[in-house]
């Protein structure tokens, strides 16, 4: 009996030591957007190598989940592909007595991708053509609206099969935000959101689901994230921007969109940069944000989160382009560094 008690005490002591050691590392939890997850996990990993005492756990549960969890206070920070709307900000304010701040981290873009047998050239899309196709008004590939922008390409008279994301996603948010800006009809009929009431089309789950259905169905069109298209060598079309130039999405053209957005950046960073001004800017791009509460009562956690954000804004940005995200413009970085002081 005695020996058993002794063993038990030893085991308990061991368990306690383990707990104490586990506590030595400061654990910070975050949750939200899936789109920036590759770069976030890279950042958290790199940051932990520099600061072994700080461990950031991030769960990519989706932007909606990120907003909900940070509002509930179950995570230390949230992340979202679309900025929180006024209602959501108010809900946060009402619950906690203080606000929540947006910090842009990287940029991403959506690209139109398609599968038309016999067409290998990169197609040009006007905003009117994209809105028409996704509204179900343009139903054939040889519609004048598409043909006019693609001189020299012989387009078939087949029905267009539209493919969109089936699950709620930041990618859809960016796509519908863009369509809402360029088409009044889209804005009133459908609107923007992570999931919307699609007038036409089939739903594919995830970027891979959309790509799969496009590959499967001849004469189809859909949209995927730029990084997904690049890393999987999926051909995609050019989109006409507000200056009337057909632009191919790449790091340079997305950065140009960000630079245009930086000029008009509001103090709370809640900005949409779809359809921006500028000749070289790609029109379907967006920031993605970290959502950090204005007041963090645990000072160790506060310092750790602020430390991470300021590292992310400087050194962290060097990791961005390897993963095909576009860097933040310098003006935005400077502005964010200032805003970081607001977190107390």
């Amino acid at each position: 009996m005695k020996r058993i008690t002794g063993n038990f005490l030893a085991a308990l002591a061991l368990a306690l030591t383990v707990v104490v050691f586990a506590h030595a590392a400061l654990s910070i939890t975050g949750a939200g957007a899936t789109f920036p997850y590759p770069i976030y996990s890279k950042w958290f990993d790199a940051y932990k190598k520099k600061n072994p005492a700080i461990e950031i756990n991030y769960q990519s549960i989706g932007s909606g989940g990120g907003i909900r969890q940070v509002t509930e206070g179950t995570v230390d920070f949230g992340a979202s592909d679309g900025p929180m709307n006024d209602e959501q900000l108010k809900a946060f304010q009402d619950k906690h007595g203080f606000g929540v701040l947006h910090f842009p981290t990287v940029l991403g873009a959506d690209v139109p991708t398609y599968n038309i047998p016999g067409v290998t050239a990169a197609l040009n899309f006007t905003p009117e053509a994209l809105a028409g196709i996704f509204l179900g008004k343009i139903t054939k590939w040889n519609d004048p609206a598409i043909v006019a922008a693609n001189k020299g390409v012989s387009l078939p008279g087949n029905d267009i099969v539209v493919v969109h994301r089936s699950e709620g996603s930041g990618t859809t948010y960016i796509w519908t935000d863009y369509l809402s800006k360029v088409s009044e009809e889209w804005k009133t009929k459908v609107g923007k959101g992570a999931s919307v009431n699609w007038p036409v089309g089939l739903g594919g789950k995830g970027n891979e689901g959309v790509t799969g259905q496009i590959k499967n169905a001849p004469n189809s069109i859909g949209y995927v994230e730029l990084i997904y298209a690049v890393s999987n060598n999926i051909p995609y079309g050019n989109v006409k921007n507000s200056s009337g130039v057909f632009v191919k999405a790449d790091l340079a053209s997305v950065s140009a969109a960000a630079a245009a957005g930086a000029k008009t950046m509001p103090d709370d960073f809640r900005v949409s940069i779809t359809d921006p001004p500028g000749k070289s800017a790609y029109p379907i791009a967006s920031f993605t944000w970290l959502l950090i509460p204005e007041k963090i009562s645990d000072s160790a956690k506060r310092d750790a989160i602020k430390g991470f954000v300021s590292w992310m804004l400087k050194d962290g940005q060097n990791y961005v382009e390897q993963l095909s995200y576009a860097k933040l413009p310098k003006e935005v970085v400077a502005k964010e560094e200032k805003a970081l002081a607001k977190v107390q």
Binding site: S63, G65, G168, S195, G203, G209, Q213, N216
Partner: protein
């Protein structure tokens, strides 16, 4: 069946001494513990309904019973209706059962009655393996094999022969109700075979021998005596399959097309309740949107409940009509 199951209860005469005795023997302890386990199942069910009911206050008040008859699903305008999803769930499950029931029961009869024991056991091993395959694997099988086959061969063939029926009309994408039903059928067939085979094999030898003794052929004894005797169990296997088909999420969402439509055509893309919950739950930012998804969960729960009730009723009815001996 369940109603007549009785726990040996303490009769008032035996009093407290026998209670203590039984406590010492462990019987009473075992009874109480297992009783708690049994009650916890009921508790979880009640809690589930309560949570789903509580979690869907906003849409229940906003839409009321219209929720069941509206076709719009618009997260931006916060207008939600469940009809296309209920329709999609029922249609895909029906297609699945229509295919799986004859195939599954036929295979079970062969394995239990006609096949040599060794072959039967070997095949049973593979069937059990199939039943354990994760549904996402079936989804991939659907996307990469069933969808192209449907689009290039099966749907054109159906359209050319039975195209006059509204069921087989419209554009052929390869995905849609029919494909989802077929993938579901592939998924539930192992359940039907496995359970039905067990039930058929547990039919007493006397029954077969008596039938054979009266001069019936092997097939007559199987079809007229063994199968009716096992009917309640076979029905059970079908309803197990139905439950699986109603609630299947991953494989369905990969092949159904995820478009909330109600169409007479089985070629048309659709949506199911489980699929939309899985698709939209994580990114539902609006309260009404989120709660409408929870209400859909409640609807799916009630649908399963209702169908299960009908199932029980059917079992009781067929047992009475089919074979009085089944419960002897």
């Amino acid at each position: 069946m369940a109603a007549t199951t009785t726990v040996p209860s303490a009769s008032p005469i035996s009093g407290s001494r026998s209670f203590l005795n039984r406590l010492r023997d462990g019987d009473e302890i075992a009874r109480m513990i297992t009783f708690l386990f049994a009650v916890s199942v009921v508790l979880v069910t009640v809690l589930l309904i309560f949570e789903l009911w509580q979690g869907s206050v906003l849409p229940r008040h906003k839409f009321g019973l219209h929720f069941f008859v509206t076709q719009v699903w618009d997260p931006v305008a916060e207008q939600f209706g469940a009809l296309p999803f209920i329709y999609g769930t029922l249609v895909t499950a029906s297609v699945a059962l229509l295919i799986a029931v004859p195939l599954g029961i036929g295979a079970a009869i062969f394995l239990a009655e006609l096949a040599p024991a060794r072959l039967s056991d070997t095949l049973e091993f593979f069937i059990d393996l199939l039943a354990a395959v994760p549904s996402v694997i079936y989804g991939l099988l659907g996307v990469f094999i069933v969808v192209p086959l449907m689009r290039d061969y099966a749907q054109p063939a159906l359209k050319n022969t039975l195209g006059f029926l509204p069921l087989f009309s419209g554009p052929m994408y390869g995905i849609g109700f029919l494909t989802a039903g077929i993938v579901l059928a592939i998924m539930v067939i192992p359940y039907i075979i496995s359970v039905s085979r067990e039930v058929l094999m547990s039919v007493p030898r006397d029954q077969r021998e008596a039938a054979l003794g009266l001069g019936s052929t092997r097939w007559e004894s199987t079809w007229k005596v063994v199968v009716p005797f096992a009917r309640p169990g076979i029905m059970g296997s079908i309803f197990l399959a139905l439950a699986r088909a109603l609630g299947e999420t991953m494989a369905v969402t990969m092949v159904i097309g995820n478009t909330p439509t109600i169409s007479a055509s089985l070629f048309s893309p659709g949506y199911s309740i489980a699929a939309i919950i899985a698709n939209e739950f994580t990114e539902a930012t609006g309260d009404v949107h989120l709660q409408a998804l929870i209400e859909l969960g409640l609807v799916l729960f009630l649908l399963t409940f209702l169908l299960n009730g009908v199932a029980r009723l059917l079992i009781v009815l067929t047992a009475q009509r089919g074979s009085g001996t089944a419960h002897a």
